[in-house]
C-alpha cells in the first residue's frame, strides 16, 4: 500500500506564545516550530500498518509548508517513514481551509495513494476541518476520529470514536482517515533513524509541478481576516488558604453563589 501521512509544522505547544501588537503576527523569537503533536499519531499508525503488512508498503510524509518546514519533515522521517513530499510555494501564503485542501489535493493526486492518514487537528488553528474538506476534494471516502485501524490492502477496517463510544467502519481504498490520540503511543526516533533520515529523499513540489488551476493563497481564499485582537489577559483572582475541607468548600460555595453560578 502507498500510505501518505499529512503533517503540519506548528509553534511549540509548550511555549507561551504572544502576538506582537504592532505587526499583529505571532512573535516567533524564542518559539520553535514543532511537528503538530496530533500528526505523530498518524505517523505511528502508518508505520504500524506498514510493519504489520510487511509487503513492501511505503509511508510517505506530506506537508504544505515553507522550505523551513524541512526540519520538521526530518523528524517524521526519523520516526521511520520512507520518504517525503513537500508542497512549497510563496503563492500559497494566506491560504484558508478551502485553499489549503485544494492545494494539498492537487499534490496528493500527483503522488498517488491508497491511504491518506491525518491527525485530528493542528494545535495552532485547531479547526479539525481540513481532513473532511480534503477527502471531498479528492473524491474519496473520509473517515475521521479513528482510534483503531487495520487493512488488508484493499479495505480499511476501523473504529471511529463517537460521543458515547465507537462504531466499526469499513471502507474500500483509496480513502482518507484521521486518527485520534487514543490510537497509539508514537515512537521516539532512534539514533539510527535520525542518522538515516538525513539520507531520505524530500521531493519538493511547487504549484507549477502540480495540476492546480485555482487562484492560490490569499487571492483564492474564500475568507478574509478582518481583525486580529489580543484578548485581555485573565487577572489573578482571589486566593483562599483552606485549613480544612469545610473552609475550602465554604469558600467555593460562597463564591459560586456570589457569581450566581449555583
Amino acid at each position: 500500500m502507498k500510505i501518505i501521512v499529512t503533517v503540519k509544522l506548528v509553534p511549540d505547544t509548550n511555549a507561551d506564545k504572544r502576538i506582537d501588537p504592532g505587526t499583529k503576527r505571532l512573535v516567533r523569537t524564542g518559539v520553535e516550530n514543532v511537528l503538530n503533536p496530533f500528526d505523530e499519531y498518524a505517523i505511528e499508525a502508518a508505520l504500524q500498518l506498514r510493519e504489520k503488512r510487511n509487503d513492501g508498503s511505503t509511508v510517505t510524509i506530506f506537508t504544505m509548508a515553507p522550505e523551513s518546514g524541512k526540519e520538521i519533515v526530518r523528524k517524521a522521517l526519523a520516526m521511520g517513514a520512507d520518504d517525503a513530499v513537500m508542497l512549497s510555494d510563496p503563492k500559497l501564503e494566506g491560504s484558508d481551509i478551502a485553499g489549503t485542501a485544494h492545494a494539498m489535493a492537487a499534490a496528493l493526486k500527483k503522488t498517488g495513494f491508497d491511504l491518506i492518514l491525518c491527525g485530528t487537528q493542528s494545535t495552532d488553528a485547531i479547526t479539525g476541518e481540513v481532513p473532511g474538506f480534503l477527502a471531498e476534494v479528492l473524491g474519496v471516502p473520509g473517515l475521521t476520529y479513528v482510534r483503531k485501524l487495520d487493512s488488508d490492502g484493499t479495505t480499511i477496517n476501523a473504529q471511529r470514536e463517537t460521543d458515547l463510544g465507537y462504531v466499526d467502519v469499513s471502507v474500500a481504498t483509496p480513502a482518507l482517515v484521521s486518527v485520534t490520540k487514543a490510537i497509539n503511543e508514537p515512537r521516539y526516533p532512534s539514533l539510527k533513524g535520525i542518522m538515516g533520515a538525513k539520507k531520505k529523499e524530500i521531493k519538493m513540489f511547487s504549484l507549477a509541478d502540480v495540476d492546480f488551476t485555482r487562484a492560490a493563497g490569499s487571492d483564492g481564499a474564500k475568507t478574509e481576516l478582518l481583525e486580529l485582537a489580543t484578548p485581555p489577559a485573565r487577572q489573578k483572582g482571589r486566593v483562599v488558604n483552606a485549613a480544612d475541607g469545610t473552609e475550602g468548600a465554604g469558600a467555593i460555595f460562597d463564591f459560586l453563589r456570589e457569581k450566581k453560578l449555583l
Binding site: A125, T144, G165, G237, R238, N241, A249, I252
Partner: protein, 326 residues
Amino acid sequence: MRDVIVFIEQRAGAPRRVSLELATKAQDLATALGGKTHGVVAGAGASQAAEATKAFGLGTLHVAEGGVTAEYLIDPLVDALEAAAKAAGPALILVPNTMIGRDVGSRVAARLDAGITSDATDVTVANGKVSTVSPKLGGLTITTCAFKNTEYGVVSVRPNVFAAKPAASPTSSLETLTLPAKKYGMKMGAEVEEAAPELGVEEASTVVSGGRGLGGPEPFTTLIKPLAEALGGAVGASRAAVDAGWIPHAHQVGQTGKTISPSLYIAVGISGAIQHKVGMRTAGTIVAINKDANVPIADFADLLVVGDLFQIIPELTKRVEAEKVH
C-alpha cells in the same frame, strides 16, 4: 448571503442543545440579512428530532429520514445539508463545532465551494456582511473573519456561546427532503456505547476537571463525577490524567484535547500549565483547587483554594446537593 441554514445534529430523535442554540441565533442573523431560516435534520430519528426542534422557531425544517440514512454516519447528513443549501441558494450555514458538525460542515463547504470558518464564538452581520469571531492559538488571539468570493459561508460554532430559547412562534413548516439514491462507500456497524449518555465537555456549561493531583483513576469516579453531576456539568481532565490512563481521551481539555468555553470551570489538582490553559482560558469563571499556591493556574484563576482536594470536594458536593433540594 441571505438565508440562514442550521444543521440540526441529533441523536436517536433528540436534537443536541448546541443546534438549538444555533436555531435561536439564526433568527437574529436572518433578520439582519433580510432572509429566512431553515433547519436540516437527517438520520434515524430525524422526524422526532424535527418535532422537538419546532419550538425554536426556524422557518422551515427540512427532514430526511429513513433508508440509508439510518445506517451511515456522515455521508447522508452531508447530502441532506447540501440539498437544502442548494435549494435555498446563497446562504449562511451554521453547524455545531462537534465531531459530527465539523465533518458535515467541512464536507458541505467543499461541495458548495464555500468559505468556512471554525470554532466561532460570535457571528454578526453588519451592512449585510457576515463576520465570525474565533479564538485561535488557544485563545491567545481573537480573529474576526468575513467571507469573500463565495455564495455560501459555513461557520462551525462553539457550543455554549449562544442561549437556546423557544421562539414566540414555532416553526412554520416541515418539508421532506428526498435524498438521491446513492451507494455509499462506507459500511458502518451499530454504535457501541461505552459511556453513560452524559454531557460532553464541549457542550457542558459547567466542567469539573481532574488532574495529576488526583493521584489515580478512582477519584474521577468518587470525587469529580459526583461534583460535576451535582452542578449539572461534565467531567474533564488534564493531559497528565489522560496520559496516565486514568480517564479516556474524550474528556481531555487542552491543546491536544478539547478547547472549551463553559460558564464555570473547576480545576481540581491541575497545575494549569500552558498546554491546559489554552483549552480553557475562555471559560467564564475559573475556580482552582490545589495544595500548592504557586502553580501556574494561580495567575489566572478567579478563585484559587489552597487545600486538600480530598477533603474539599466531598464537602462541596454535599453543599451543592443540599442547595438543590431547597
